[in-house]
């Protein structure tokens, strides 16, 4: 039995799953996730946050942009303002729900784009090696000379604010690390015997790439990409905090935090709410990616 355990999942014996001998890769990943309650809980939290953002127009009790000078900076639970009001008398709950739309988009979309672009460059660099590898990876090294937030501020600060520029900035910032992960994984796979075997049977470059290389590169890249979602959310909120994101009055968690900063002496709790939203979302994404890494058995 110990052989089965060692071969199939490298899990301790107490895991009942590992006693089942044959299962597809994704099947076994799911089996391990099933018993990881922390990850499942965080996954549920993420789904909840995503759903609340998607259904914001139906869930929000009020118009998020409707201000009222008579009701500025009301505390949590004031009349029908469940989470109070901001410095312009807008309903915090509604703004939080709508703000999640932009904040989540800025967490997920740049990661998807840079996974595609960075992953492609990384696989090409890793598979072809030689000069192509040199050219791609040395270019990426230059971007690694910047701490991510600095690079984001540099690009965003030059391009100016706005949602498209923010998206562009975050994508550029996240490409180099993803490219490096994809390159490392591809280089490892490329030298393996089964790739040589495939080549010796006359398989074309494309079919080797798709059937043998990509399938082995995809899980480390995906796991790494999932850790970047919370990085992206925090970077995006930081940029919005500096005024380099959406333009007011659009609701966005980072921007809300920035404008409410002036009100911390009046309504400390209300001013902290957007930050709590960012924190909860980012913790949830972080823990899910931790769980994924364990379930997919990828070394960090």
């Amino acid at each position: 039995m110990s052989e089965i355990v060692a071969d199939s999942f490298r899990q301790p014996v107490r895991d009942p799953v590992s006693l089942v001998p044959v299962r597809s890769y994704w099947g076994s990943v799911w089996q391990r996730l099933r018993f990881d309650y922390v990850t499942l809980f965080c996954l549920a939290v993420i789904l909840l946050i995503v759903a609340s953002a998607v259904f914001a127009p139906w869930l929000a009790p009020m118009d998020p942009d409707k201000s009222s000078m008579a009701y500025r900076l009301r505390p949590v639970g004031y009349r029908n303002f469940m989470l109070g009001t901001d410095e312009q008398g807008r309903d915090m709950l509604s703004r939080l729900l709508y703000g999640g739309r932009i904040s989540l988009t800025m967490g997920i979309l740049p990661v998807m784009l840079s996974t595609l672009i960075g992953g492609l460059f990384g696989v090409v660099a890793g598979y072809y090696g030689g000069k192509i590898n040199m050219a791609i990876m040395r270019t990426m090294d230059v971007f690694f000379a910047f701490p991510s937030i600095l690079l984001a501020i540099a690009i965003s600060g030059s391009l100016g604010g706005g949602i498209t520029n923010q998206l562009l900035t975050l994508t550029v910032v996240l490409i180099p690390p993803l490219c490096r992960v994809a390159e490392t994984a591809t280089t490892q796979v490329r030298t393996m015997d089964f790739v040589d075997a495939a080549r010796s049977t006359g398989a074309s470059t494309m079919s080797i790439l798709f059937t043998h290389v990509l399938i082995n590169v995809i899980s480390p890249v995906l796991v790494y990409a999932s850790t970047l979602v919370s990085v992206s959310i925090i970077l995006a909120s930081g940029l919005s905090f500096l005024g380099l994101g959406v333009s007011p009055p659009t609701a966005d968690w980072g921007l809300m935090l920035a404008t409410l900063r002036q009100s911390i002496y009046v309504q400390p709790l209300v001013s902290a709410i957007p930050g709590i939203a960012i924190l909860v979302t980012s913790i949830a994404f972080n823990l899910v990616s931790d769980g994924l890494r364990q379930a997919m058995d990828v070394r960090a």
């Binding site: 000379a145 501020i153 100016g160 905090f241 935090l257 911390i264």
Partner: protein, 318 residues
């Protein structure tokens, strides 16, 4: 050793050149024509062309780059648009303020992370491990500027223990880190800066120590009757190269990434300067600050790599 050091130093030069290219490109991707901003609305196209030639903007881009690079190499980072001061002086002054709190924060985070990381690794799966991991995840996930705002709410507004912003009445002029009246202004910025690297380094230390403790030589140490404490010391010695690497990386991140925290506390460092540059769209100031910070980051990484090769004999050979 010397061969490795020389190789490593030579390899840094293309990276630094790449950094200057990116910084140069920042001005190019900025929307708007810099010449139009300098001209009065009544000036003619001929005036514009003359001014363009005077600034060298009529040259092809590579030529412009080398002219700019030549100036940068002699320490001329251009002139700030907002106040017409040389950028270099302003950046250097702010840089000194940033470096000091970054150094203190990272040193604090390093010592604490080693302590917590080792405890968590030795008590793997127990309550202490879970608590430490939870704090570490919090540190990684919390937006640093929000942490800064929260600290202000708690310690400046509610408890009135610490000043909320600035560097004190005298500014940075006669600021002393050895006097509480000055130092108290730095306490909250340092705390807000230290937490994210603390989280990251604690996790790294924990997993590194846990991995070492699983190796055969540790079992040998235990078998020959060493106390658990000296076994742990052996483990710590083994992760030192890794620990130094992460220390340098985090220091670099703090120096470059303190923008938001410094903005919240109006700490007059490079981060505050960057924020000013962004708000006033002062591209030369932005470019100069980024260039100095990125160069510092590259040099710190170089220094760390060299330190590592001193500590870890395995690196020299490869």
């Amino acid at each position: 050793m010397w061969l490795y050091a020389a190789r490593r130093i030579v390899l840094t030069i293309p990276i630094l050149l790449g950094v200057t290219i990116i910084c140069f490109a920042l001005v190019q991707i900025a929307p708007g024509d810099p010449i139009q901003n300098l001209l009065s609305p009544t000036s003619s196209a001929a005036d514009a062309a003359r001014l363009r030639a005077a600034y060298g903007l009529d040259q092809p881009l590579p030529i412009q780059y080398f002219i700019w690079l030549g100036r940068v190499l002699v320490g001329n980072l251009g002139t700030s648009i907002a106040n017409n001061m040389p950028v270099a002086g302003e950046v250097m002054h702010a840089f000194s303020n940033t470096v000091v709190i970054a150094l203190i924060s990272v040193a604090l985070a390093f010592v604490l992370s080693m302590f917590f990381g080792v405890i968590a690794a030795c008590r793997s799966g127990q309550l202490a491990d879970k608590l430490i991991t939870a704090v570490a995840v919090f540190g990684i996930s919390v937006p640093p500027f929000w942490l800064a705002v929260t600290l202000v709410i708690v310690f400046a507004v509610n408890l009135s223990l610490l000043p909320a912003t600035g560097m004190g009445a005298n500014g940075s002029g006669n600021f002393s880190y050895f006097q509480w009246t000055s130092l108290k202004f730095a306490v909250m910025p340092i705390t807000a800066l230290a937490l994210p690297p603390l989280g990251i380094m604690t996790r790294t230390t924990r997993s590194a120590i846990a991995e070492i403790l699983n190796q055969d030589f540790i079992q040998t140490l235990r078998a020959k009757g060493l106390s658990e404490a000296s076994v742990v010391v052996h483990a710590i010695r083994n992760i030192m190269p890794q620990a130094i690497a992460m220390l340098g990386l985090q220091l670099g991140y703090l120096i470059g990434g303190s923008v938001l925290v410094e903005t919240v506390f109006t700490w007059p460092g490079t981060g505050y300067l960057l924020n000013k540059a962004v708000q006033t769209r002062d591209i030369p100031l932005l470019q100069g600050t980024i260039l100095v910070l990125a160069t510092a980051f590259v040099l710190i990484n170089l220094f760390v790599d060299l330190m590592q090769s001193l500590i870890d004999p395995r690196i020299k050979r490869s």
